[in-house]
């Protein structure tokens, strides 16, 4: 008989608990029921403001579709728990459901504190915590011009970004004399203020609001204690959080004097079978308003349920984030509350950078730090603090620019194995080493195995250095040499080909390689020659470089025959063309199937027949589908606005345009695209290297998705684009990928290994931070201009067509190609069938 586990609350921490639980052995001991007060499953509150810069509620969701169902977790949304009877071990919900439990987990979170100001409940006076709050903000913004955030802390500034994104003239009102008073000192706060004010946000500090009343020029007038006032249409309270502890209070659990459910190191409340985790819990007199400590508590409860020793002993509140585009970080105690503490300050006015170190009286240990405008030192400093490491002789070297001298670097080896590198997923250096011992051979593998770097991404640099150092120790070639013949990576070879103008393999090998090449470097160089010069695969000197698929312009099947896949742009095909395909398949007895990319495949074509088959297809208006090449495969589309009742835009036309523009462009690996005409996403565009989805305002662009072995949801890259901008970004994206990716690296892996990740990619493609945007577009245009159908060239040239034979010296069939009829078509005979002579030979 399974025990009953009830979870109250389905926020970030509540979900993290379930996610960790299902992956532990104790999960099989319990039937799990979850109650959530909100109408939707857990979503990312940390990046809430991205809702206004293009993300949807679905994008923000933390729960993979079907996660609860697949794991047999009973989730009840819109169902608020209103009472706990801890003696009877039961709960009751607002709709009257009663349920007993063996274990209860409270993850009720917190609510936004609204200061007790007269008028705080007027129209368009809002808070910022849930998606419903966002919707209310959106609605209020439609009838407003000015918005004020009350509270200049971390959340307040996030909320201010939301108001800016909604197009409101934005003000921030802070009670303290500076922004982010908890995390920053005066110097750091004033630098932050300067940078934010540049963005057009007005900051008012040392302001205490007395009353909110009718405005004269706007909806409200806020009157401050100093007699000044401010008129605004929307007011957003973001003045801190308070634990949602009313349930626990009613149940008689021990509470803190100022609220919060008291927990011990195992996260148990005063009733041992009831746990509390996240922002509702009070541990050692502290409420932790960050998500990482909440995740740590969730892990402790899971360990406890698994009878493993684990303890939550407090959490580091260091934080690094981007507020309105400004990098800010705070470590430990940045105020130097210890009187004997000493500090170092570096300020760079022109570049708007501020850094401060607080060190112990003897100068040996780091106590705290503030970084504004440049947070590259965060990783190093955090490790110094967390591991209580000794400071170098001149601690200020740590924050001075590298050019001022040699910056002391903490080699990854100086970190203990227990050092936590990724705080979002609590990944230690030891865990990274374990992943490498278990077979991870690059950063992307380590990310997949440990989830490190996949939360805020702040630890990427540090984790990369640990991964590289550990791989080097194991003698794994961190060198990216493509194979034994070239001491260069694919990216380096690309540049050598381009810069030195190599037009063939022999010239490149002579200049930079040794030996004869192999099946690794030859196709890679062929692809590079194709990308740089649009070199035709079938040129005689290129033939030896090609994988058989490229050499014979078809995909070789297990029996040595080939598949024929004509391009069907966007999946749109006329009945006449369908008839031709059917007739050709019938005449050559080809097995016919529709593949996953909305195309029709004819299987079993023999080498000598291929030119004749293609001649008939080309005469009917088809062209090569390049299904054999590392190039664009298909652009999948839904039917779009021309037919669909829900379509916003013409997705079929967009798919055809995309396919025709990028067809034939050789890339490091195959590329797939998808276009959906609305957010119902019937084309599954988010599983493609490039996905395009129509919205009311234009096209949203997604990049680096993948189906296949390691599925990956694409990242939303840019929103509401017009067609010209969309193509501009895709041109740049593809060319940048072609130039910088490794051999056979799909866009998803490429992004995983790209330092700086999606943000960096946006800078390069959208903001043109490298100044190469125009160049990339021109290169793409030149490839587009020189496109030729591979098969057209074979059909037009008898010398080329002559190379398709079974034997150079005989016009005979391949005796191994034998077929069996199944479901009305032919398929290759198995070895057993050949032995038993059950096979029929093709006529």
């Amino acid at each position: 008989m399974k025990k009953k586990l009830v979870v109250v609350g389905n926020g970030m921490v509540g979900h993290a608990f379930l996610d960790k639980l299902v992956n532990s052995s104790a999960f099989s001991d319990y039937t799990v029921t979850v109650f959530g007060e909100e109408p939707r499953v857990a979503y990312d509150r940390v990046y809430l403001s991205s809702y206004f810069s293009g993300k949807t509620a679905e994008d923000l969701s933390l729960v993979p579709t079907g996660f609860y169902e697949a794991n047999g977790i009973d989730i009840r949304l819109n169902e608020k728990v209103v009472a706990i009877d801890s003696a009877a071990q039961s709960i009751t919900t607002a709709s009257g459901i009663s349920m007993t439990y063996d274990k209860l987990v409270l993850a009720t979170g917190s609510y936004p504190f609204v200061p007790p100001i007269e008028g705080n409940n007027r129209d368009a006076c809002l808070v910022y915590r849930t998606i419903e709050d966002l919707e209310a903000m959106k609605e209020a913004a439609t009838r407003s011009k000015i918005g004020v955030v009350v509270g200049g802390g971390l959340l307040g500034l996030e909320a201010a970004k939301a108001l800016v994104d909604l197009g409101l003239q934005t003000h921030v009102v802070e009670f303290a004399p500076r922004l982010m008073p908890v995390q920053l000192d005066n110097g750091g706060a004033s630098m932050l203020r300067r940078k934010i004010e540049k963005l057009g946000v007005k900051i008012h500090t040392s302001k205490s609001t007395k009353i909110i009343e009718d405005g004269e020029t706007a909806r409200h007038k806020m009157v401050f204690a100093d007699g000044e006032s401010l008129e605004t249409d929307v007011i957003l309270f973001s003045a801190g959080i308070r634990p949602r502890d009313e349930l626990a209070k009613q149940a008689g659990l021990a509470m803190g004097a100022r609220g919060g459910i008291v927990i011990n190191d195992q996260c148990q409340t005063s009733a041992a079978h009831v746990y509390a985790i996240g922002e509702c819990a009070l541990h050692g007199g502290m409420i932790y308003g960050l998500v990482a400590p909440g995740y740590a508590m969730a892990q402790v409860v899971v360990d406890h349920l698994n009878h493993k020793p684990a303890a939550f002993t407090g959490a580091d509140m260091s934080t690094k984030l981007k507020l309105m585009g400004v990098d800010v970080a705070s470590i430990g105690d940045p105020h130097g509350t210890d009187e004997a503490a000493k500090s170092y300050i570096y300020e760079n006015g022109p570049q708007e950078v501020y850094k401060k170190l607080v060190v112990s009286a003897d100068g040996k240990k780091l106590l705290g730090a503030v970084l504004v405008g440049d947070v590259d030192d965060y990783g190093n400093l955090l490790q110094l603090k967390l591991n209580d490491m000794d400071l170098p002789e001149h601690p200020d070297d740590l924050i001075l620019p590298a050019r001022a001298g040699t910056k002391p670097s903490f080699g990854p080896d100086s970190l203990p194995d227990s050092a936590q590198l990724c705080s979002c997923y609590d990944v230690s250096k030891g865990r990274i080493i374990q992943a490498i011992d278990e077979g991870a051979t690059c950063l992307a593998d380590v990310k997949n195995a440990t989830k490190a770097c996949t939360g805020c991404g702040g630890c990427t640099q540090l984790v990369t250095s640990v991964v590289n150092a550990e791989l080097a120790k194991r003698g794994v070639e961190v060198s990216k040499a493509i194979c034994e013949h070239f001491p260069y990576s694919r990216q380096e070879l690309y540049h050598l080909v381009k810069v030195e103008g190599h037009k063939d393999f022999a010239s490149l090998l002579h200049a930079h390689g040794e030996g004869h090449g192999c099946d690794i470097c030859k196709p890679a160089v062929a692809s590079i020659l194709g990308s740089v010069w649009n070199a035709y695969a079938f040129d005689k000197k290129n033939i030896p470089l090609q994988d058989t698929n490229d050499r014979y312009l078809g995909n070789m099947q297990k029996d040595g025959s080939y598949s024929i896949i004509p391009r069907v742009p966007g999946g749109e095909i006329t009945p006449d063309k369908l008839i031709v395909l059917g007739q050709v398949a019938k005449d050559y007895q080809l097995y016919t199937k529709i593949n996953g990319g909305q195309r029709i495949v004819l299987f079993g074509a023999k080498l000598p027949d291929m030119p004749a088959i293609w001649k008939r297809l080309i005469d009917a208006g088809f062209e090569s589908g390049q299904a054999y090449a590392k190039a664009l495969r298909t652009v999948k589309s839904c039917v779009g606005s021309t037919w669909c009742r829900y379509g916003m835009l013409d997705s079929v036309k967009m798919a055809i345009d995309l396919e025709n523009r990028y067809k034939g462009v050789r890339s490091p690996h195959k590329m797939k695209m998808g276009v959906s005409g609305c957010t119902r996403e019937c084309a599954e565009a988010q599983a493609k290297d490039i996905g395009v989805i129509a919205t009311e305002n234009g096209w949203n662009l997604y990049v680096c998705g993948n189906g296949g072995m390691k599925p990956r949801h694409a990242d939303l890259f840019a929103v509401d684009l017009d067609e010209a901008t969309l193509f501009k970004y895709i041109d740049r994206f593809i060319m940048f990928y072609i130039q910088t990716a490794g051999r056979l690296e799909r866009t998803a892996t490429w992004l995983g290994n790209l330092e700086g990740g999606i943000d960096y990619l946006r800078q390069v493609v959208i903001e043109d931070s490298l100044g190469i945007g125009m160049h990339l577009e021109m290169q793409m245009q030149s490839l587009v201009n020189s496109y030729q159908c591979d098969w057209q060239q074979v059909v037009d040239d008898p010398e080329k067509a002559k190379l398709f034979y079974n034997f150079v010296n005989a016009d005979e069939k391949d005796p191994e190609q034998l077929y069996v009829r199944e479901r009305g078509q032919l398929r290759p005979a198995t070895a057993q069938e050949k032995l038993e002579s059950l096979a029929v030979e093709l006529v």
Binding site: D547, M556, F807
Partner: protein, 105 residues
């Protein structure tokens, strides 16, 4: 000593690549590398199809090899041995070039 059979002209071969041919009733693959012709069985013993002539020719630690186009095992052009699975090998045929023609026995 088995008899020599004329297969084709050297000009029918492709430098640094393979070409399929029929020797008596056997499918063979001719490779033309460094002005020398190698003849091996065209049958891929692992993939079980006549495809070796379509593999990529190269070198591994100095030894000339052809990679199976199906599952990428490497076979020595001179001995026929599979580098990854020493128990598997391609049959090697004798070759000579005379008067611009390729002969196999």
């Amino acid at each position: 000593m088995s008899e020599w059979v004329k297969i084709c002209a050297v000009s029918d071969l492709i430098a640094d690549a393979g070409v399929p041919a029929l020797f008596k009733d056997q499918a063979i693959a001719l490779f033309y590398v460094n002005d020398q012709v190698y003849a091996l069985s065209n049958y891929d013993p692992i993939g079980q199809a006549n495809v070796m002539s379509r593999g990529i020719v190269g070198s591994i630690k100095g030894e000339l090899v052809v990679a199976s186009p199906l599952y990428k095992e490497h076979y020595s052009l001179s001995t026929g041995k599979c580098l990854e699975k020493p128990e598997v090998a391609l049959t090697v045929y004798s070759v000579k070039v005379e008067g611009g023609d390729v002969w196999v026995s």
